[in-house]
């Protein structure tokens, strides 16, 4: 009797899981299947199960159209580079800032932490325009032959898409919270062995912060990959644009939905692959730090 009821519960749980999986998978399936159909077929099939099936006039024409309309490979490469560099620098800079706030005792550290946390409530859109003005005034060192010279203005470069997003209040707070949970006795033991602050950061605290690093990496990567407004405002050269700006190439007066679906498939694949590869670390980090993106 008990076995029968537990089988029923298991079946119900499985059904619920399948339903959830289907709910999340169907938009992706629709996107992929539609990327293989001409526009008229996409709209003809909507409203029936055919919308999720590769039936009718199936071809890779939309993918060919994508590469005719946008330099998709270039945009993908740009986004990959920008996102990875932002993640790598973000982990370094934000963990160091959090370490200083968590471990170093200095006057005003609590106030500094409060100010950092307070910046979380300011939406990016409110200071985006002033930021454009500022980045155009910033200096940069460039090689001119064998001479180093100063230039002014970061507009229309890769660095303007990376550096403003390296320091991140949320990442600092995440690292800070995690560092607080690491016993200070470990620092003290290292100090007895003659370690300085940087060595403690490098050899004691960071190696124990895997889940926090994974969370920050993922939470930094996604907005960097999805960034749209900022590159639109600061980048004018096509060769420097990221994938999301490329998506807006397709919204002309005559919209080609099949090509949009093909492009969406292409730009979703790297993120999906990344998620599948780091699925376990992602779930663990979300569970251990209690945040979600």
């Amino acid at each position: 009797m008990r076995r029968r009821s537990s089988t029923r519960v298991r079946a119900a749980v499985l059904a619920a899981r399948l339903l959830c999986a289907a709910l999340f998978a169907f938009p992706l399936l629709f996107m992929f299947v539609s990327s293989l159909k001409p526009d008229t077929d996409i709209f003809k099939d909507i409203g029936s199960v055919r919308a999720f099936l590769p039936v009718g006039d199936i071809s890779l024409d939309n993918y060919a159209g994508v590469f005719d309309t946008v330099p998709a490979a270039r945009f993908l490469l740009n986004s990959l580079g920008i996102s990875l560099v932002t993640v790598a620098l973000g982990i370094l800079v934000n963990s160091m800032a959090a370490f200083a706030l968590s471990r170093l005792s200095w006057r005003g550290s609590r106030l500094a932490l409060s100010v950092v946390i307070a910046t979380l409530v300011v939406p990016f859109e409110t200071f985006a325009l002033p930021l454009v003005w500022w980045v155009d005034k910033l200096p940069w060192l460039t090689m001119n032959g064998l001479r180093l010279t100063w230039s002014t203005g970061w507009l229309d470069t890769y660095r303007v898409q990376v550096i403003p997003f390296v320091a991140n209040a949320f990442s600092i707070y995440l690292f800070y919270s995690y560092f607080q949970s690491i016993p200070r006795q470990l620092d003290e033991a290292a100090r007895v062995d003659g370690a300085g602050w940087f060595r403690i950061y490098r050899t004691v605290v960071m190696p124990l912060s895997g889940p926090a690093i994974a969370t920050v990496a993922i939470l930094t990567f996604l907005p960097a990959w999805n960034s749209y407004l900022w590159p639109l405002m600061v980048v004018q050269t096509e060769e420097l644009r990221p994938v999301m700006v490329g998506a807006s190439y397709f919204f002309q007066l005559k919209v080609h939905w099949g090509e949009i679906m093909a492009y969406s498939t292409l730009i979703t694949l790297p993120v999906l692959a990344l998620f599948l590869a780091f699925q376990r670390a992602f779930v663990n980090s979300i569970a251990s730090t209690g945040v979600k993106g």
């Binding site: 454009v132 003005w133 405002m233 004018q236 807006s248 002309q252 007066l253 005559k254």
Partner: protein, 427 residues
Amino acid sequence: MRMSAKRTLRWGVAAALVAAAAACGSDNAGGSSGDSLTLWTHNAGNPQELAVVEQIAADWNAAHPDKKVTVRAFPQAAYNEAVVSAATAKKLPCILDTDAPTVPNWAYAGYLEPLDIPDDLLAKQLPSTVGKYQGKTYSVGYYEAALGLFARKSALTAAGVRVPTLEQPWTGAEFDQALQKVKAGGKYPITFDLGTGDTGTEWWTYGYSPFLQSFGGDLIDRTSYKSASGVLNGDKALAWATWMQGLVKKGYSPQKSSADAFADFVNGKSAMVWSGIWNSGSLSKVDDGVVLPPPDFGNGAKVGGGSWQWAVSSSCPDKATAMEYLRTSLTAKNMAAFAQKQNVIPASEEAAALVPGWQPGGEKRFFLDESKELAMVRPPTPGYPYLTTTFAKATQDIVAGGDPKQILDRAVAEIDRDLKSNDYYGF
């Protein structure tokens, strides 16, 4: 385990620094330099039109090697944001294209310079391809666009309805009767698709304000440009709003169309669809497809006028060259090239004569004649961005079934408040 984590961290830091150095070193500054002018266009993602823009620039560059023009293309959906950001950083290009209704706002904001183009050259243009504000010309286009009522002739014939012409469009009553009869035939799930699936603000104004103007209303009082009172909430505007709402209430139009109403029309889901010349190339997929003028609701049939036009920025260090570029590029050959590559109306008769189908009697001619006779430009005021947002929101609320009087009164109050708080934008 710890050693491996340490090594990973070390490699991570090293990789970050190397990658950062690589990223930051990939410098590619934009903007104008001493011997070249930069030109911005909204055509990224539209290779046909971009090819013509690039060809015009290439022709110029061949003739003026000391004053070359560099083309930078942006996606249309994000173009205005890019221009406004560049204006903030004082990095506007010398030559830029702009959607016609935006011109007064950018002129008022000081982004644009009045154009120095001879009147005899401008006189050849379709009036709606010249962007004016406060009596000065700020922009000029190589082409125009227009809307039309795309229909299946068989649906009209079966319903026993007269096929309207530009000379004799349907009256409001005739159109209502046509809708009634086609719907009664029961062949099409949608009788008349307004295309409400397009959530872009400008479509709602470009597409539906001509109906309001045909009823006798408008977005703003064009005698003073200081209030919308009376024109957007008067009896005529109320009649328009009731009619728009009635299309949905009577089951002629869906409250929200699909994302591509024209594809539905091609697939036989609708008998008629309100759409633009950009879809006319797909009309051949419908055996008996025709393009008709909009109905005349009492104040003349109307369509929206003003498409993409070209301007010179006020911050351009070499305005004379930029003006010369525009002046010399306004040739029939260039205008014809745009009309050959895509579905747009050539901006002059001279250009129309060069493109098959656009001559009098040609199969595309309808749109040129319609544009000449029925086009009404959107209100040339710097307050237009607020007008269009408010009007689009009001129209969406009306179509969704809200109380037309309340919605229009609220829209008028909001528009008047904006006009007042901006000192009536210089009017």
